[in-house]
Symmetry: C2
Subunit: 228 residues, 2 copies
DNA sequence: TTTTTTATAATTGTCGACAATCCAATGCTT
DNA sequence: AAGCATTGGATTGTCGACAATTATAAAAAA
């Protein structure tokens, strides 16, 4: 066996977790839907045991809300929820930036820069397709988070909060000039990290996230007032 | 039915979760122990289904570490772990203080002050018994965290990080003059919150937590060098 | 008509058994 | 004797069925 391939057994619970998770994030299972264990078990063709394991993890990342003996519902997107979530995100990713400026190696930084260049080229090709921007943005933030080298911080941000963040972004979308500006902001952040200026990276990251929040907030307000 | 009593069915998984969790935090199940599902099922006299649910939640609050198809182990306490954990705690509870200064009602604040007075009297009676100090401290921090009124922040701190924090504190203990100083620091923090001075409350809380960390660090170092 | 009660149905929580996977010890080959 | 394949034991993952609880809706009483 090669040294590169870790033998982590992919279990049925893992598979169905990924399936349901993306279904919720992408909106295939609409927000607010009641979750029925027997129905999902039939739909994904497995027993309830691994399904419940998957549901437990979905609850962990705030994509569903469970009440004992009463079932689970897909979380609803709201302005208050968005603000609470992004309040935390600003703080945590700001911290991640300060730590990344301290702990990232030169090679780590070089890799992120290569990543950004790659994003730029693919974005020029696929102009306007927001999905690639979405994936690229997540990827950039993920790298910085890993760069903090704090396992608890990494766990909270990438395993718990980020799927909900993606849900807001996918369902309410990035639009307008933000898509193109994000690249420059990413560049500025990695530059600050490369200069080992944690405070600046922190500040830039907070502004970056705050701008993103305002963008989604507007979408939420427009959507809320238009057809209701 | 009265309006005060929420009908949340206590399930078997909840019970065994509390039992095992306290057993780990108090050290009855030593750090680093291999977890055997059949053994624990016999010991707590229930099936493996609710036990696995409990283990999943224990993993969530970082008290055990699982690898698929290979079982789970109780987490080991280490200096690096402590630093990573408290780094996050400083940041998050600092944020909690800023938000609490903004969102706590006058009544909330009055209740916390009553709590502190109560702690002071019980501490005078039970001088030296660190357990009460431990419980009182947790209680104080818990109140401030709730005062932030940010559900995600509350969840992360009180449901995920705090049991591990307690494990460090219970197993490595509070000692010396810190026990008595903590009261004054708590007082200062709630005063700052009452004055709606979030920045000061933030600063004081960070110092408070940093002091606690240094205290536990020393215990860890002494223990590590003495009998090894 | 409104409220309370009751019974039915569906859902969740739990159980014991089976299947798949991994760890350790043993025996075989070089 | 050292390294590697193999087998045995134990553990985890999964399944289908049962028990307990809750929500729904119909029926009875105010």
């Amino acid at each position: 066996m090669l040294a590169t391939e870790f033998k982590q057994a992919i279990t049925a619970a893992d598979r169905v977790l990924v399936q349901i998770r993306t279904a919720i994030v992408e909106g295939d299972i609409p927000a607010g839907t009641k979750i029925s264990e027997p129905e999902l078990a039939r739909r994904y063709d497995l027993s309830r045991a691994p399904l419940r394991e998957a549901l437990a993890r979905l609850e962990r990342c705030h994509l569903i809300e469970r009440t004992p003996n009463a079932g689970a519902r897909v979380v609803k997107l709201s302005i208050e929820g968005l603000r609470s979530l992004y309040q935390l995100r600003e703080e945590l990713e700001g911290l991640a930036c300060r730590l990344a400026a301290e702990h990232m190696t030169e090679q780590d930084i070089a890799e992120v820069r290569a990543l950004l260049d790659q994003h730029l080229s693919t974005q020029r090709v696929r102009e306007g397709e927001s999905y690639y921007q979405e994936a690229g943005d997540v990827d950039f933030h993920y790298r910085v988070i890993l760069g903090s080298k704090n396992p608890y911080l990494i766990n909270i941000l990438s395993d718990e909060l980020y799927f909900l963040v993606r849900m807001y972004r996918v369902q309410l979308g990035m639009n307008g000039p933000r898509v193109s500006r994000a690249f420059d902001e990413h560049k500025a952040i990695i530059n600050a990290i490369a200069n080992r200026d944690g405070e600046l990276a922190d500040l830039l990251m907070r502004r970056h996230i705050a701008a993103s929040r305002r963008n989604i907030e507007q979408q939420l307000l427009q959507q809320g007032t238009s057809h209701d």
